[in-house]
Symmetry: C2
Subunit: 392 residues, 2 copies
Amino acid sequence: MSAVRLARRAALLAPTLPVTTGRIAFDSGHASPALLPDLTAEAARALSAHRAEVLQYAPRAGLPAMRAWIAAHTTADGAAIGPDDVLVTNGAKHALELVCRLLLDEGDAVVVTAPTYFSAIPIIRSFGAEFLEVGQDREGLDVEALGALLARRRAAGQPPPRFLYNVPDYHNPTGITMTGARREALVTLARAAGLLLVEDSPYRLVRFEGEPLPTLKALAPDIVLQLGTFSKLLAPGLRVGWVAAPAPLVARMAQLKTDAGSCPLTQRTILEFCEGGRLAGHTASVQATYRAQRDRMAAALRRELPDADFDLPLGGYYLWLTLPDEFDGEVVERLAREAGVSPLAGSRFFARPDADHPRHHLRLAFSHATPAEIEEGVALLGAVCRTAALAR
Amino acid sequence: MSAVRLARRAALLAPTLPVTTGRIAFDSGHASPALLPDLTAEAARALSAHRAEVLQYAPRAGLPAMRAWIAAHTTADGAAIGPDDVLVTNGAKHALELVCRLLLDEGDAVVVTAPTYFSAIPIIRSFGAEFLEVGQDREGLDVEALGALLARRRAAGQPPPRFLYNVPDYHNPTGITMTGARREALVTLARAAGLLLVEDSPYRLVRFEGEPLPTLKALAPDIVLQLGTFSKLLAPGLRVGWVAAPAPLVARMAQLKTDAGSCPLTQRTILEFCEGGRLAGHTASVQATYRAQRDRMAAALRRELPDADFDLPLGGYYLWLTLPDEFDGEVVERLAREAGVSPLAGSRFFARPDADHPRHHLRLAFSHATPAEIEEGVALLGAVCRTAALAR
């Protein structure tokens, strides 16, 4: 079967999320409505002082000022890069699609964690790639297991995987933050094995505690393609993301972009926001709000679901709940939706549905629901689980 | 070679346009700077009254209000469709890419005119399709030749082409408007042959004379996928286009969209503009301005290049110039760029570069240059052609 046909078929099998029907959304990567910034002044400046720029076609690789800002931002975060190392995209998913278009041939192997970000799965699959899964523990991706996997492939005469995709900071869905030692070990192994690393980093600034650890990009800029976005920090609707990669790869991905340039109006509006000095204060609000919502959810879970287990994520939007072994997350998800709250079954987050994955996890987003909804939603979820346990 | 590898290779061979270096841009599909509307009030309303809508993720198929507006607009233009028949995209090129993802398998045949829109070529080619070319005359696509081509394939036991791509209104690059009789003949033939029609219609409202003819979509809504955009009417930078197609195809293309929804901010800003009653007046300005610029260019060409030939386009952005047979458009393009004006060689617009196509055409955009630049640019072009003729 051709790659194209595979792509169509894969997309039709893609884990399209159910439309949220419950009153309380724990399934959504939406932002807290309270955090959506007022961008009217920024858009007005973009549309007046920069009218010709924002209403004509933009350069396919992004506005030069936007590329420069992202390069400076990335450099301040430890990876010294220049504007030519940045491609502006229509969000981070579009960045991942372009990375796949650049790197993947049908049948290539791609390494992902088990579980991994569910929206990455159909994008990678649509290029006819084969998924290889590696596990995680509390320190992040199991680099030792990855080394064994690579060695087995070498011994069997199989080519190395084309890239590894991971979310080292506040992993989606597990919330795990890779330790510094694991990051070092991963880039050392990847370099030795000729493995490219795709570091998806949407939540990097949505940090609740402690100091940030070095990004993979900072540790090995030449072998890391880092995906970034303004969606999780500023507003999902702006649809501006990027990939930071060596300049020759950026130039080729720009050629693969068929969209006549990403929207210059949203790029310039974001630049006005960031260069106008609002980003630091907004980031602090984002961190404080989501930290409080995480804590609210954690306290409610301890009270309402004392038999369930979770680690407190140090950032991001999600909490990964481990129910007692005998629970089926898909059943709980369905019953919870009927009760008015929408967790996501953990089973949605595995790239290889055929493998023997645990079924007793739920991903709960604490980003979109209000604190009162978090209380009510967790109470509903607790009631659903108690009913499900009694029905056994 | 796999489709994916083909796609990468094709994109690397794509006719990436040279960066305009001359002072006077005849190569560009940019809008006239004088026509870029003031959208500050519209964006402000979008960002205040509709803040949650425009800053969160939007539905993947588009804002319901945008889909409804496009459906009503298309219905008023003769094709009765509903919101479910509309997919909002990041511009019309993105719409074409999604149509290709939906319809094409590697090795499928696609019919295009010779010449055709150059940006469509690498997109279609990247899916591993084979191009079949049909000619045009002053009445548009040669339907008789198409019928013969389809009959030859049938006789040879070859499958019918997967679709035909065309720009019936103010064709890019030739400016030809298909006559009503040709449109009727095309849809009759397509229906009999099981051929889908992709009608690219970016210039539909950029009409200078006469009454509009029925769109292919109006004549045969069930077999036509119509591509539209706000780029050529309102502003290219907004990056909002659409495809109007039967609802089941729209639903499948929405699944193939990996971008988490097109930007709701630009969609809502456009809605504010259109629903606020500004579209009709703006369309009249667009028509008057580009009509005057076309006339200015035509008069200058008659004066400066009396040996060259052209038909006056009834709409659109471009004039297709036929130089005397012995001229090579690529040489003229290069010399003209050195002289400070940038026509595009006609050879860029043929999908099959191996075929024996004429080489003495130029495409001249009259949309972006000011009237004074049009005068100066045509004078420079005339001088270049006289020098080139002398150098023989």
